[in-house]
């Protein structure tokens, strides 16, 4: 049967039952819109969580001592060779930073808290959240800076403020305690209160002097593209042979799992929602086919082959599905655009921080997801029509025409 005739017949048949097919198209469109909008939220959340994980001093890749994760401290430090970064000539790197991060106790006149003391070179911290921090007071001026900056929340807990002194106590490489007093240069306001409570920053050289060690505990790298992680891992692995070179997914496995779930979330949501809808579509198609069984029998009596009858039912179903999906995708885009710049969730700040999401949450509508939904829907439309089509050709032309 010529395709043009097939399309002509199918198209006109759809218009015979405008209301029924219109309702079907509307139902499909709303389901697709729902799937896409939920997906934009999940994609946005996953992206936020990934970016937050990478920003929070992890980077795309981190080099650490093999025992550092189990027993973090300067005893698990190392001294990178000068010029190690030359090994990454093939990988575009946004930046890298060497840090000393050790567990410490911080004391004010009134309170004591456990924190992570991080010695940094501020000039290299554009790759982490430290580079874009809002600081009340002064930021660190360099790796030699002897002052500290602490989180605004920690400052509240310690009942202290900018300009006052705090005592930091930690353990040196020899296992003996070291302590020193530091003046607060500024307090920072991060997206997450958890960060403000945990991280205390000072110059890398200052920490080295405190610990009496030139070692660092981590080298963090941010790449231009996350796609280059495998290549960078391989190249860094060759340079830091005795150290662990880990991707952010290994360092933040929970976040990586959530991102993976978000990737599959589209399929899960799609098949739950559209799966239910397909039963409705099959039912509508069976009704439509049985209403026209006499006509379909007549077409076969005139010489239309059974497979052409099947093709006609399949094309009609596919057209309904296509119309619904296109309308649904268009509606999803229309609904998404006003929120594409981000949604202010500061009213739910505490909850969102627990989920690793910042106050401004940006949904993400990805073209690839739209293509996947479109293709899956066409496949589903064809599958949904096979049973009604089979019923249509099971009836002999003569039986069909007698009805």
């Amino acid at each position: 049967m010529p395709l043009k005739l097939l399309l002509q017949l199918s198209w006109r048949n759809l218009w015979r039952h405008r209301r029924r097919n219109g309702i079907m198209v509307l139902a499909i469109a709303l389901a697709v819109t729902g799937v896409m909008l939920m997906n934009t939220l999940m994609r946005g959340m996953a992206a936020e969580m990934r970016e937050a994980a990478i920003d929070n001093l992890t980077g795309h890749i981190k080099v650490i001592h093999p025992g550092y994760m189990a027993d973090p401290g300067i005893g698990r430090g190392f001294e990178p060779e000068q010029g190690w970064e030359q090994a990454l000539a093939d990988v575009p790197v946004a930046g890298w930073a060497q840090r000393v991060r050790v567990p410490a106790v911080i004391m004010s006149e009134r309170e004591t808290r456990g924190v992570q003391l991080v010695g940094v070179d501020p000039a290299r911290e554009a790759i982490s959240f430290l580079g874009s921090l809002s600081v009340d007071g002064e930021a660190l001026s360099g790796a030699e800076d002897r002052r500290i900056i602490i989180g605004a929340t920690l400052a509240e807990q310690l009942e202290t403020s900018v300009g006052r002194r705090l005592v930091i106590m930690t353990q040196g490489a020899d296992g003996l305690n070291r302590e020193a007093g530091y003046r607060i240069a500024g307090t920072y306001d991060a997206d997450s209160n958890a960060l403000e409570k945990v991280f205390v920053f000072t110059g890398a050289q200052t920490v080295a002097r405190l610990l009496e060690s030139p070692a660092v505990t981590e080298v963090s790298l941010r790449l231009e593209s996350g796609d280059d992680i495998p290549l960078a891992l391989a190249e860094l692995g060759a340079v830091f042979e005795d150290l662990d070179v880990k991707a952010w997914q290994d360092l933040e496995p929970q976040v990586a799992s959530m991102v993976l779930v978000a990737d599959f979330g589209l399929y899960i949501m799609y098949f739950v929602i559209m799966g239910a809808l397909v039963f409705g579509l099959v039912n509508a198609l069976v009704t439509a086919v049985m209403e026209r069984v006499r006509e379909l029998g007549m077409l076969r009596a005139l010489g239309m082959r059974p497979r052409s009858v099947v093709a006609q039912v399949v094309v009609e179903s596919t057209l309904v599905m296509t119309a619904g999906v296109v309308a649904g995708l268009a509606l999803a885009v229309v609904c998404y655009l006003p929120f594409s710049g981000g949604i202010d969730l500061s009213a739910f700040s505490e909850t969102m921080q627990m989920m690793g999401v910042r106050n401004i949450f940006t949904p993400r509508l990805e073209v690839a997801d739209m293509v996947i939904v479109f293709v899956l829907s066409l496949v589903l439309g064809v599958l949904a029509s096979l049973y009604p089509a089979r019923r249509a050709v099971k009836v002999t032309p003569l039986d069909a025409m007698r009805r």
Partner: protein, 226 residues
């Protein structure tokens, strides 16, 4: 020697009606020569429509052999049977059976489209056939916009436009008034005489029987007289 378009030998067809066998045809021997206008006549349940259906490949006999234009129908699968109907047989049904979403011209072109005839030739032949049946002015109308007689004319146009070797008409006058039936029969007779179309009708309408050149009477699934 007369060329036979249709040959039936010992054709039997039995249906199961609530587990009771109904013998619609009992060993029928029947042949139709090229250019004949045959009327299968008989009361309801005599087997005339069943015989027409098995000749047209719409039904299969339980026993016996049928050939149409030399092709053994029993040897054909469903798709091959569809091809036989498409290329060699024209059907006119009691209820017209036009495709409701297509115009008169598109209905007439439908079979040619299935056959793969190109658009220009299709249009020319469809309009020519509608013209010969006095229906050209209604070429753009859909079935719902035409009377019963007009629809039956379009059905005939669709059946003959491809020059089939055999035209089968099942109770073609059943839904028509006397005047329209007369016009329809004149038309069939003209097609038979002028174009040599072989026609077999199944009817219990004496008016239709009167127009046929040969009448075959059936009763209880058997041919009782010719």
């Amino acid at each position: 020697m007369t060329q036979h378009v249709v040959e039936c030998q010992g054709v039997s067809r039995t249906y199961q009606d609530d587990a009771v066998p109904v013998h619609a045809l009992r060993g029928v021997d029947f042949a139709v020569g090229t250019g004949e206008f045959v009327s299968l006549a008989g009361p309801s349940g005599s087997g005339k429509s069943t015989l027409l259906h098995v000749i047209g490949g719409l039904d299969r006999p339980n026993e016996g052999a049928i050939s149409v234009d030399g092709e053994d129908i029993n040897a054909l699968g469903d798709s091959e049977l569809a091809d036989l109907r498409l290329n060699k047989i024209g059907f006119v049904f009691q209820a017209y059976n036009l495709i409701p979403v297509l115009s008169a011209q598109e209905n007439v072109e439908f079979i040619m489209q299935l056959q793969g005839v190109d658009a220009a030739e299709r249009g020319e032949r469809a309009l020519g056939t509608l013209d010969s049946l006095g229906m050209r002015d209604l070429a753009d109308r859909r079935p719902g916009e035409m009377s019963g007689g007009q629809q039956q004319r379009v059905a005939i146009a669709r059946a003959i436009v491809t020059n089939p070797v055999l035209l089968l008409a099942d109770e073609p006058s059943a839904n028509l008034d006397t005047g329209t039936t007369g016009e329809l029969l004149e038309l069939l007779k003209r097609l038979n005489k002028e174009r040599g179309v072989t026609i077999v009708t199944a009817t219990h309408d004496p008016m239709v029987m009167g127009y046929a050149s040969r009448q075959v009477h059936l009763r209880d699934g058997e041919i009782v007289s010719e």
